[in-house]
Point group: C2
Chain length 214, copies 2
């Protein structure tokens, strides 16, 4: 059964691949699962029809027969569990790969969102400039720890996994601020992720979608 | 094999159950799995020995033979996968319960942490008062959506699951601000969670640990 995901009709990033549908597209491309995409306008996000799929009124959602899922982490994990290539077979390695999905979403992304929110929601406030510096330094504190852990490893823990897929997707969001490039090994890690054919296909697909080629 | 988790030697909340070891203790109590707890000082969190368990230098961690996990969400999911009572048997319901783990951690908790950070890290800043109001309203926006979804349901999706365990644990963190009680159905939902014998045992255990009774 072909799953259907949702994406912004027009992504706020204009197709730079930073919206959360890209990570789900990437997982589907990695495992070779065809999928359909339904565009949702910003107004439609607040409508009961969409809230029934995602109570928080965001994208992506995932529909496959009777199953409806929300949360990019849960959707990528669901895809990874049903195919071979995104989670190791060894039980302990599998547990660690899943821990990295949570690690990316909970120990890294909130600091990135804090910086994005400072820019998007509070740039007109008198504290905007001073506070942005604080928030950027808090993010650096996180990236420093991740960089120290990664060292010169290719991926977070053995072979490329769903944990790397989410971590690379999350880190990509720090590139516009210039902060990613302060950590050479993290920047190289993200580039390795982007170089994967699955990522390339996902990126091209979301860009075409954002350009109205559907 | 008895797993060992880590907890703060002295929790910043003084034993109110808001540190993240409580959610792992709760999961272990729900499934009836005995466990050991190792206390970690704030200084020890930064040492290589602890960073080898959790690269971000936080608690909880989970050690079981050769397996080492970090991230409370990953640990609770690992426990839930190995026992019967925290995830539904039906594949679709199981997927939705896991989506709620991610939903609690990614669509609710960051807004709570933003408010906590405003208090803990920026209360001495000139913008503290004005900004706290903004941040509290952003959190209300999230809780309003969750409240609308929950309605008069007992739990998020059918029987109590690991998704509820994490959501209740996350929402408990909003109680000190008074904001939880603005949403009667969410406050009642949290109370139902707290009333579970597994939560009661977990809370008592973390309180005794924080009081030095080990």
């Amino acid at each position: 059964m072909t799953p259907t995901i949702t994406a912004f009709e027009r992504s706020p990033d204009g197709g730079k691949g930073l919206a959360r549908d890209t990570r789900v597209r990437w997982a589907l491309e990695e495992v070779g699962q065809p999928y359909a995409v339904r565009g949702v306008s910003f107004d439609a996000l607040k409508e009961p029809k969409h809230l029934a799929l995602n109570p928080f009124g965001s994208i992506p959602t995932y529909e496959e027969g009777d199953l409806v899922l929300f949360e990019s982490g849960a959707i990528v994990l669901h895809i990874a569990e049903r195919h071979d290539s995104l989670l190791p077979k060894d039980a302990n390695a599998r547990g660690r790969a899943i821990a990295w999905i949570f690690g990316a979403l909970n120990s890294v992304e909130p600091w990135i969102l804090e910086l994005q929110n400072a820019k998007l929601l509070e740039s007109d406030k008198p504290w905007a400039q001073d506070r942005m510096l604080l928030v950027a330094d808090r993010l650096r504190g996180r990236l420093q720890k991740l960089s120290a852990y990664l060292g010169d490893k290719e991926w977070l823990d053995g072979a490329f996994s769903a944990g790397d897929l989410i971590m690379v997707s999350v880190l990509l969001r720090t590139r516009p601020s210039g902060i990613l490039n302060e950590y050479a090994n993290l920047a190289a890690y993200v580039s390795r992720g982007e170089a994967r054919p699955g990522y390339q296909r996902a990126f091209a697909a979301q860009l075409a979608f954002n350009q109205g080629k559907r």
